[in-house]
Structure formats: structure tokens, C-alpha cells
């Protein structure tokens, strides 16, 4: 089966949540961004609502936008279970229209890496800027590979994550088979969700694909400038740490003056 035929990783929101929902070290950042927004917040590429539902629970006036209908539907169900009916819009981050303007737009969990070209990146950032109130800010998390990552060979499955599927005794593993293009800063991934039982036997397997385009620190600054942001800060963590190592998460604040 060629990679082109594989479904997108965002076509399987249940598996996505099972393996990724545990990653919540960024939550304090997003909750504080939401609490201090003093106005409406847009969760750009909100996915299944990992951050959005928590924002709603904190009383933040938050909308969500995502391009994947299956992810949005899961977000809607999760929000509804908690008694919320947020505005959830299916749309492309490069070209979206929301009916209101925001004091904060947040874009977490490396979602910006799905903007695959300079044009995609600039369209996304400009569209965000248009949706910001004057004085509002984009807060964006993204990251880029460190030298150790380069040493991992292409085309070989790497087990990235293993989680228990609650109540079943099985474990779900995420295997990533990567093809890296360092000149264009892109990576294609064939993702396999492999479910193994207590005896280590594979009881289920599903293959999906995804593609990412990472950005370096200076490049992110240049993108923000080219998109019209004149004031920005780039940190190396979720608590405003200075960015000094490539294995730190890159968190950018960009204000619309």
C-alpha cells in the first residue's frame, strides 16, 4: 500500500486521543493564556479539544477551528459531555473566516508544522493576524529537530509511544516510519497504531500518514515579520524559558499592535 493511499492521522480521532491525550505539559500555558486573555480566544487546529475543553471549564470564551471533521466531531462530543456547546468551525488555517475577533489565538502541539510551504505559513499567520483584536496576540508552539534526531535513520519504524487501552489489558503502540527532507525541512511519516495483548501478540494494526514542515528559530521570526507582526517574543518552553537548545519547545508570542 503506498503512503498516498493511507488515511490521514486525523481520520482516527479515537486512537489519536488514546496516545496523545497524556501529553499535557503544555496545558498550564494554554490555561493561563486563556485566563489572561480578557476576551474571546480561538484555539486554532483545536483537534479533539484537549485544550479547548479545559479552557471552557475555566470559563474562557473559546472557539475552535480545525480542518479535520472527525476530530471536530469528537471535540463537540467531549465538550457536550461537560455541558458546553462551543463554536466549532471546520476550516483551513490558511484561509478561515470567523465571525468575531479574538484577544488571543493559540496554536499548540506543533499544528503549525502542517503549513507545508512558505506560502502556507504566511497565509496562516496573516489570517490569524486579521482575526486578532488590536493589542491581541498569537501564541504558537512549534519545534524543530535536534542533532540527535538527525542521527535516526530514515525508513525504519521507531516506537514513539506506548499506552494501555483502559479496561482491555492491551497496549497501543505508535510506530513512526519517517522520511526526512532536510533541505525543504519536511518529514513524511507513516504512522502505525499497533495493539498488542498481554502476551505481546499483535491483535490489531492500523496505518495512517501525516506530513510536517518544521521551522527554525530565526525562520519563525522572519515568518512573523513577513506576516506583518512587528512585536514578538520566542521562548524555549511553556514557562517562558529562554530558547537555547533545539530540543526545547519553541513558544512564540506575536502581538498585533
Amino acid at each position: 500500500m503506498s503512503e498516498r493511499e493511507l488515511p490521514d492521522v486525523y481520520d482516527d480521532p479515537e486512537a489519536y486521543d488514546l496516545v496523545f491525550e497524556q501529553f499535557d505539559e503544555d496545558l498550564p500555558l494554554w490555561l493561563s493564556v486563556g485566563r489572561e486573555a480578557r476576551g474571546p480566544v480561538l484555539d486554532l487546529a483545536c483537534g479533539t479539544g484537549r485544550v479547548l475543553v479545559r479552557l471552557l471549564e475555566q470559563g474562557v470564551d473559546a472557539d475552535g477551528l480545525d480542518s479535520a471533521p472527525a476530530m471536530l466531531e469528537r471535540a463537540r462530543v467531549k465538550a457536550q459531555a461537560k455541558g458546553f456547546t462551543p463554536r466549532l468551525v471546520q476550516g483551513d488555517m490558511r484561509d478561515f473566516t470567523m465571525p468575531r475577533r479574538y484577544t488571543r489565538v493559540l496554536c499548540g502541539f506543533n499544528a503549525f508544522a502542517h503549513a507545508m510551504t512558505i506560502e502556507d505559513q504566511l497565509r496562516t499567520l496573516r489570517c490569524v493576524r486579521e482575526h486578532l483584536e488590536s493589542g491581541g496576540a498569537l501564541v504558537l508552539h512549534t519545534s524543530f529537530p535536534s542533532p540527535s534526531y538527525w542521527l535516526q535513520p530514515d525508513g525504519e519504524p521507531v516506537q514513539e509511544i506506548e499506552v494501555e487501552r483502559p479496561g482491555t489489558g492491551t497496549r497501543v503502540q505508535l510506530w513512526d516510519t519517517r522520511t526526512k527532507d532536510p533541505v525543504n525541512q519536511r518529514q513524511r511519516s507513516e504512522i502505525e497504531y499497533r495493539e498488542v495483548d498481554a502476551g505481546g501478540r499483535v491483535v490489531a494494526s492500523r496505518r495512517l500518514r501525516t506530513e510536517q514542515r518544521w521551522v527554525y528559530r530565526w525562520e519563525l521570526e522572519l515568518l512573523l515579520r513577513a506576516a506583518g507582526f512587528q512585536r514578538f517574543e520566542i521562548h524555549g518552553g511553556y514557562r517562558g524559558e529562554p530558547l537555547v537548545r533545539p530540543d526545547q519547545p519553541m513558544v512564540a508570542w506575536a502581538w498585533k499592535d
Partner: protein, 279 residues
């Protein structure tokens, strides 16, 4: 140091142990040593010379140094001027030009604040010089100045270091023997070691360079040291800087024979046109 497009190291060697003589802040403070090391570098000469000849108008050699390219251009009848920030290098160039009966127009100045009366059909910036722009502000100021000094249809042509995964994974702080170079009298060989430290976030490479003078028996006669800081650029980032500087069109390859840029290319060769530019 304006390193030549870097050869992948094959051997890591023990740090040289020898008496020290000259310690300089930068290689450009010692044009004599600089010329010993680099004046013989010819890989890019035909490339830049051919473009200068074909420019059809005045040419500016940005960061012309001691004239490695500018003098052959003048001798080929090209209407070329030079600019450099290092007065020692310009003085060396003037001496060399006079010996050949040439009187080039030379401008002392910083490439980030270009302000010259003429407009050029071609601006060249060779030998990895743009790595001395350590911040995006410096880069954009330099590129914008170049664009503003281009005649209609003119272009900027340069080569600059980029970074590859393999080079990024090279261990830091290990002296690497770069090359051996015989000197004119052949009795002395120059052996060049480079000890690099890389900052992958800031895209900065700091080099401590040691140049040993070796006699025929391999004994170290003298050692020269200098330091250099350079900032490498990635292709996508360069495209953004060209855009922000107002360039409208560009071609980015690697090497001087039109090679495409690949995952192991350590060098970008760039031609960029401003308004009204064409291929």
C-alpha cells in the same frame, strides 16, 4: 574565517602543540596570512568572472577583501569596484593592484549600510562572506542595500554556507585538520586546524583556527591563531530574507556548475533579481 566550502572531516587529530606567535582577532587583520591561505583558491573564480564579464554594466565586488576576484576581473576589463570593511585588506588590495598597474575604485564600508553613487548590473559577494551577518537584521540590511544598488534588471550573486544534518552532528570542540597548503618557496607547508562549536538554535558556528607552519621534516616552525564567528542560513530562511529585502525572483542551487541543492550540500549558490529582473 571565510572558510572554503567545508570538506567533511575524515580525521580528528590531537590539538597541535607548539609555540605561539601571532594571535589576531580575525583573519582579516593579517592579509599576508590570509592570502597565503586563500589567494590560491580558484574553484569559484571562473564562475564569478564569467558572470562579471556577462554583466553588461558596472559590477560591485561586495567584501572584496584583498582582491582575489576583483583583480582578475579588472584584468579581464570588467568595470568593477570593490567594498570592504577591513582597511588592512583594502590596503593589501591597493598594493597588489599598483604592482599590476591598476587603480581600482575601492570603497571602505560596511556591507550592512551600503551607500554608493552608482547602480550596478551585478553585485557579487563571494567566498561565504555573508555568514558575517550574525542576525536577521544584518542579513536583511545587507540584502536590501544590495537590491537598492542594482540597476534595472541587475542581479545579486553570492555563495554562502548552509548546514546539513551530518555536519550538525559533528562533535563540537574537536580540532579538525582542514587542509595542507604548500607555500611559494615549497620549504614550508601550512597546516590548518579548525575547532568548531555550533549553536543549532542561533545557527552560529564559532571557529578557532590554528595555522601551523611546517618545515620539510614536519617540524612546527610557527603557529598562527585566529577566531571567527559565522551564522549559517537555511534555504527557506534565505527565501524569507530575500522577500523581506524586496527581491522578486531568485535561483538557489549549490556549487558553481549549477548543481541542485541536496541534503548533503553545505553551500548555497544564489542569484537574486530585484524589480524588473529576468533570468
Amino acid at each position: 574565517m571565510r572558510l572554503r566550502p567545508r570538506v567533511r572531516p575524515t580525521t580528528a587529530v590531537a590539538p597541535p602543540r607548539s609555540r605561539e606567535s601571532l594571535v589576531v582577532r580575525s583573519p582579516y587583520e593579517d592579509p599576508e596570512l590570509y592570502d597565503l591561505l586563500f589567494d590560491g583558491y580558484r574553484e569559484d573564480l571562473e564562475f564569478y568572472l564569467a558572470h562579471a564579464r556577462a554583466a553588461g554594466g558596472p559590477v560591485l565586488d561586495l567584501a572584496c577583501g584583498s582582491g582575489r576576484l576583483l583583480l582578475p576581473m579588472l584584468e579581464a576589463g570588467v568595470d568593477v569596484e570593490g567594498l570592504d570593511v577591513e582597511s588592512e585588506m583594502l590596503a593589501a588590495l591597493t598594493r597588489k593592484a599598483r604592482e599590476r598597474g591598476l587603480e581600482p575604485v575601492l570603497h571602505p564600508g560596511d556591507m550592512r549600510s551600503l551607500d554608493l553613487p552608482r547602480r550596478y548590473a551585478l553585485i557579487v559577494c563571494a567566498f561565504n562572506t555573508l555568514v558575517h551577518n550574525l542576525t536577521p537584521e544584518d542579513w536583511i540590511a545587507t540584502l536590501r542595500g544590495c537590491r537598492e544598488h542594482l540597476a534595472p534588471g541587475g542581479s545579486l550573486l553570492f555563495d554562502v554556507q548552509t548546514m546539513t544534518p551530518a555536519a550538525l552532528c559533528d562533535p563540537d570542540g574537536v580540532p579538525i585538520q582542514e587542509f595542507d597548503l604548500p607555500t611559494a618557496d615549497a620549504a614550508v607547508t601550512l597546516r590548518v586546524f579548525d575547532t568548531r562549536r555550533k549553536d543549532p538554535v542561533g545557527q552560529i558556528q564559532r571557529s578557532r583556527v590554528e595555522v601551523q607552519e611546517l618545515d620539510a621534516a614536519g617540524e612546527v616552525l610557527d603557529t598562527h591563531r585566529f577566531e571567527a564567528t559565522m551564522r549559517w542560513v537555511q534555504k527557506n530562511e534565505l527565501v524569507l530574507m530575500l522577500t523581506l529585502a524586496g527581491f522578486e525572483r531568485w535561483e538557489i542551487g549549490s556549487g558553481f556548475a549549477g548543481e541542485p541543492l541536496g541534503p548533503d550540500s553545505l553551500q548555497l549558490v544564489v542569484r537574486a533579481w530585484g524589480e524588473g529582473g529576468s533570468a
